[in-house]
Every structure is written in C-alpha cells, then in structure tokens.
C-alpha cells in the first residue's frame, strides 16, 4: 500500500492498466503465444504428429519456396483479400447507411441481413454449392437456361470458381459488418448532422466529410478484421469444394486450406507450421500496414 501511495498519478494509472491486463496477459501467453511460439519452432522441424520431432532447419521453408502449389495458393489468398475486403465493406456500408434511415420494419430488415451470419457455414456452403450447379439442379444455371443463355461453369472452372466461392463468404459476413457499421453510425452525435444540415452541404459531403471520418474507428476495425478474415478464409472453400478441396486444380485453395491439408491429411506438421508462419507474417504485415495507413493523424 505504501508503495502504491508513493506513486504519482500517472504511475498509478499505469499500475491499474497492467492490473487490468494481468489476467488477460496470462491467458494470452498460455493459450495463444505459447502455441504460436510452438508453431514457429515446429516450422524448423519435421513431425508427422505421431512420432518424434526432428530438426529440419530451413528445409520446410525451402520446400515451400519451390512448391508451385504454394505460390498458386499465395496468389489465391491475396485475391480473396483484394476482392473480398473492399466489396464486402462497400456493400455493408451502403446497406447499413440506408438501413439506418429506415424506420418501417427496421428490425425485420436488419434481421434479414443478419440471418446468414447466424446460420451454419456448412449448411450454407452446401446450399450455395447447389445454386452453382449446372442444370438440372443448379438454380443460377436453370435461371440462365430458361432465358436460353448458355450455362456458366461456376465451380468447375479455374477462373470462375474463386469469385463464386468468395460470394458466399461475403454474403455470410455482411450481416456482421452491417451491425458493426450501424453501431458505429449510432455513436455519431446528432448535432453534427444538424450543423451540416444547417450549412446546407450535400448529402455526399455529409457522407464523405462527416459520417465516414467520424466512423473511422469502426472502419479501421472492419478493414483490419475483415482483411484478416479473408486472408484466413477456409470454411467456405472447404465446404464448397469438399470433393476436391481447393479445386479445381488449386484454383480456389487458400493458405489456410493448404495448412489444414498439410497438417491433417499429409500429417506433415513441420511443413504446415512453416506455412502457418508465412500466413502469420502476411497477416501481421497487412494489419500493421492498414493500421498505419488508417491511423489518426
């Protein structure tokens, strides 16, 4: 107590802060950092999960660099990111922005948009897969066929499959992003809008000069978080390509699926760990870059 009372106010607050962080830090260390460190160590080793670990040096990384599948997967992963994040954020923001202004059946409509987020990814992946099928069972192709338009090979195509799988991923996450956006929109004091209305600026100005800047904490969160989400995409790919995971011809395979495959089908844990370390590095760099670009100036 004496020690505590000798601290100055600033130091006391620092002490409080670390006090608040104590339990979480222990938790994160044990449950997250330790396994992570373990994975990094493992990436320099050889382990088939069942036997002993043996030292392998940089061999796993060398294999990775010379593996054409890895580079394909690397490219896919970034495609998911580059397409998924902007598309989903823009759509989500647009919906949230307009939904925020709607009163009639507001709750119902919001629930409609949020429902996909609540339903099981496995079941939904199947439904989507089913929508994408060729005739006679595919909804989209049947629709095209009734207009005499030739079928589109959605999933059985090396070019169309990735966007086709991205669609349900965006779809499923939309509700989440809308909710976050709405919560963010709600936190903006009404007087700011009132002042802008008085100033008579256009709705676009209000949007770009007031709403979006004031929404920045929310946007930072969503950009970083959804980027992480798309870089870690797995469920949709795995469940929509169960027969030929990441296929056809690896055209939809993301890094996490490769890791999963290496770990739980190949039982090459060291190699999987090396891939994990690569993923980790990419994610960290992308997130830090985004946080840096979106920081408060």
């Amino acid at each position: 107590m004496n020690f505590y009372s000798n601290l100055n106010i600033g130091q006391k607050r620092v002490l409080w802060a670390w006090g608040f962080l104590a339990v979480p830090i222990i938790f994160y260390t044990v449950v997250r950092f330790y396994p992570t460190a373990n994975a990094i160590l493992l990436s320099f080793q050889e382990w088939n999960l069942l036997g002993d670990r043996t030292w392998a040096g940089l061999e796993n990384y060398a294999t990775l660099a010379s593996d054409p599948v890895f580079w394909k997967v690397f490219k896919n992963t970034f495609l998911y990111l580059i397409l998924g994040t902007p598309i989903s954020l823009i759509v989500a923001f647009t919906v949230a922005y307009h939904l925020d202004k709607v009163r009639f059946m507001h709750g119902t409509i919001r629930a409609l948009y949020f429902l996909p987020f609540m339903t099981s990814a496995v079941a939904m992946a199947w439904v989507w897969r089913w929508f994408y099928q060729p005739v006679p069972i595919g909804l989209f192709n049947n629709f095209l066929a009734t207009f005499g338009i030739p079928q589109i090979a959605f999933l059985n195509s090396t070019t169309n499959a990735l966007p086709a799988i991205l669609a349900p991923a965006v779809w499923a996450g939309l509700g989440f992003q809308i909710i976050i956006f709405m919560a963010g929109l709600r936190a903006i004091p009404a007087t700011y809008y009132e002042a802008a209305r008085i100033d008579g600026v256009s709705r676009w100005t209000v949007l770009f000069e007031i709403t979006i800047p004031l929404l920045k904490p929310t946007i930072v969160f969503l950009v970083v978080f959804s980027s992480i989400g798309f870089l870690r995409i797995f469920d949709q790919v795995f469940n929509m390509t169960t027969n030929n995971p990441g296929g056809p011809l690896n055209s939809t395979k993301p890094l996490v699926l490769m890791i999963y495959d290496t770990a739980f089908n190949g039982y090459d844990m060291g190699y999987a760990a090396a891939q994990t370390v690569v993923l980790f590095t990419i994610l960290l760099l992308v997130s830090l870059l985004q946080l840096y670009l979106l920081r408060d100036r």
Binding site: P134, V135, I137, A145
Partner: protein, 392 residues
C-alpha cells in the same frame, strides 16, 4: 478390466459393434469394453490428436492406408504371434490383407472389407429397354449412351454413367481400368509409379472419352455421383458396398448391382479397401490381454457374419464371405465375387494421391491438356509423394 474401443460413427456400425461387444462380454465376464465413436469426416484428425498424446483407445479402428504412420510412430503394437500367426492369417483372410504385414508380423486385421460394383437404375433400364447390365467396357458405353438424356440447349439432364475422380473413380481407374488396359499402377514394392505408359494413356483416354467423346456423363453432374444416382438421374453408378444402406433407404429408387465390367481382354479386376482394428501401444498388461481377446473375437467368422448382416460390409475371410448364400445374394453377390480378383492400393497419403488423379482429369477437361502430358504429370506428382514418404 475395461478397455476402450474407438471407431467412427455410422449408425449400423455402432449397432453391430454394440452387439459384438455384448457377445464378447458375455463370453468374457471379467472384461468390459467401452466404445466411443466420432464423426466420420473428422475421425482421422481426432485419432491423430488423441493417440500420440497417450489418450484414447486400447483397440482402435484405422483405415488400412494409415497403417504405416502408426507403425512408424509406434502407436500400435503388432498382434501376438501365438494367437495371430502370419501363416494362418494369410491362409484364412483374403490376400489383400497382406498389406497389414510389416517385418513379417501382422499389425492389424479387418472385420470386414468393401469392394466396388456397378449399380444400375432398374427403372431407367426398363424405360430404355435394356435388359441386362453391361458386362464389358464396350457394353458399358453403349448402355450409357442409351440412358443419356439432354434438354433442348444440349445440357445433360440425365447421365448414362456417373463419373468423378473425387468419388470412387480414382480407385476404378487405378486398380481396375488401368489393369484392364494392360498396365499396373505401382511397382511391386509400391514405391514407384508405373502407369505412365501406353496402357495408362489408353485407360485414361478411355475414361475421359466417356465425357468428351461419348457425352454420356459429366463429372460435375449434380455435384456428386451418388446424389445423381439416388435422385434417379443416372443410369449407372460405380460405387462401394458401403453405399448399399443409403440406397436401400432411398424411397422410390429401384436398383440393381452387377460386377464391374470386364476389360477389352475380358479380365476383371476390382478394388478393395477396409478398416482394420489394431491394438494401441497404450494397452499394457491386463488391458493388453483383454485387447488381444477382443481382437480375436472381432476378427472371427461369427463377428464377420454379424457385421455383414447389420452393416452390409463384406467378411474379410473367404470362409465367411464365400458361402453360397452370400455369393448368391443379388446385392452382396457381385461385391463378394469382386473380392476374389480385388487389389488394394497401398496409399502413403490417400488424399494427396487421389488429388493427383483428380487433377489429371481436370487438366484435360478444363485446360485442354493432352492425355499423355496430363498422365505424365500425374505420374510425376504421385511419384514425388511416394518418394517423400519412403525417403524418410
């Protein structure tokens, strides 16, 4: 003593095992067996996580393809010589069980095995005026052509034969078609890929022609071959014996089974696979003894018959399988007959090896690669998988 037994969840298998356990416990009142089961799709992950950690079962059910890993990691122990002498096993069981032998000792044994056969939709056969299922590959194509339907835009609405490397076709191609065209998949020591030759090209050409030339099939038709067959939109379908139960449950579907068609030279081949039971290295002392007894029981003829009746899977011993009653059975008959000429692939990484086959066909279909090139590439890829494994 209590021993623990793990298998994956499938209702009939669980029921059958419960019955076996009951019988076993009656016979051995001092032993109780506790069974745990896990979802099929994740069984392997589950086992892989638990056993190295020293958790889990004393007797475990494994896919035969995983054996090497478990042996190498010393997670399972060999069966005792006195009760399971190698010679006797080789005499009693179907020859493919020899894949379970390493260093002259057996490490695991199956209760039941499964093989491939040709399912056909009787109603569609009747509609098309076809009397008998095809006996040869040529007939297969001809029959399939009759069963194929298209809509005005030329889209398939019903296929003659389902195909899909992602399902059972990779087995069919590797162990059946390839051999029928005169090739072999692997060298005798299973370490070298040997299908990159003329026979291989012919077999592959024949396979891709089904879709590309004859137009009797589409690999993505209705997403999954079995779904197309179940939905009555496929005339014929090659699948394993484990499918019988599901088809039985499908209302409104009348179907029959035939042996796989014979090759150009009239030879028949088949592919068999099985799940084996093994004793983990965790079982020691009393538990080990109990586990051995349990192993003995579940690989007995009695157990096999119960398994066949409850699960519909084929006995692993000719003595139990090749009874007149069984071979004469309209449904089991073709499968059991197939066992006689069945081969088993010794996989080192089943999913990766299947992927090589899948990609081989995809390259031809989606990227227009020539058959020869694609085959060569597949052989190279698979060889790499084998090399990596055996080099350790």
């Amino acid at each position: 003593v209590e021993i623990e037994y793990w298998q994956y969840f499938f209702e009939a298998r669980v029921t059958a095992m419960e019955q076996l356990i009951e019988n076993f416990e009656d016979a051995n009142p001092d032993i109780t067996v506790k069974m745990n089961h896990f979802p099929y799709a994740d069984y392997r992950t589950k086992v892989a996580a638990a056993i190295p950690a020293g958790e889990g079962p004393d007797v475990v059910q494994l896919f035969y393809g995983w054996l090497n890993d478990y042996v190498d990691a010393e997670l399972i122990q060999p069966l005792p010589d006195d009760l399971f002498p190698a010679a006797q096993i080789e005499e009693e069981f179907f020859p493919m069980v020899s894949a379970m032998k390493q260093d002259g000792r057996y490490w695991a044994l199956p209760t039941a095995v499964r093989s491939l056969a040709l399912f056909y939709n009787e109603r569609l056969f009747d509609d098309a005026g076809i009397e008998n299922p095809p006996q040869t590959l040529e007939e297969l194509v001809a029959t399939a052509e009759k069963l194929t339907k298209k809509d005005g835009a030329g889209n398939l609405t019903q296929v003659g034969l389902t195909t899909g490397m992602t399902a059972q076709d990779h087995h069919w191609w590797r162990e059946v078609l390839l051999r029928q065209f005169g090739g072999t998949p692997y060298s005798d020591d299973n370490r070298t890929v040997t299908y990159n030759d003329e026979a291989g090209q012919e077999a592959l050409q024949w396979y891709v022609d089904l879709e590309q030339t004859h137009g009797v099939t589409e690999s993505t038709f209705m997403d999954e071959p079995q779904a197309a067959f179940k939905a009555g939109r496929a005339g014929m379908h090659i699948d394993g014996s484990f499918r019988i139960g599901a088809l039985n449950d499908t209302r409104g579907l009348k179907w029959g089974v035939a042996e796989l068609p014979a090759g150009p030279n009239g030879d028949r081949y088949n592919y068999a696979s099985y799940w084996v039971n093994a004793i983990t290295s965790k079982a020691e002392g009393e538990k080990y003894d109990a586990a051995v007894k349990f192993m003995a029981y579940i690989t007995s003829d009695e157990a096999m018959q119960i398994w066949l009746e409850t699960v519909g899977e084929l006995p692993a011993k000719p003595s139990a399988a090749l009874t007149d009653e069984n071979t004469g059975d309209a449904v089991y008959g073709p499968f059991i007959k197939g066992l006689e000429y069945a081969n088993t692939t010794v996989f080192v990484n089943e999913s990766a090896q299947r992927q090589a086959m899948t990609d081989m066909v995809s390259r031809i279909e989606l990227q227009g690669q020539s058959v020869a090139e694609s085959l060569a590439q597949a052989a190279e890829e698979e060889q790499k998988i084998l090399d990596e494994y055996y080099s350790e």
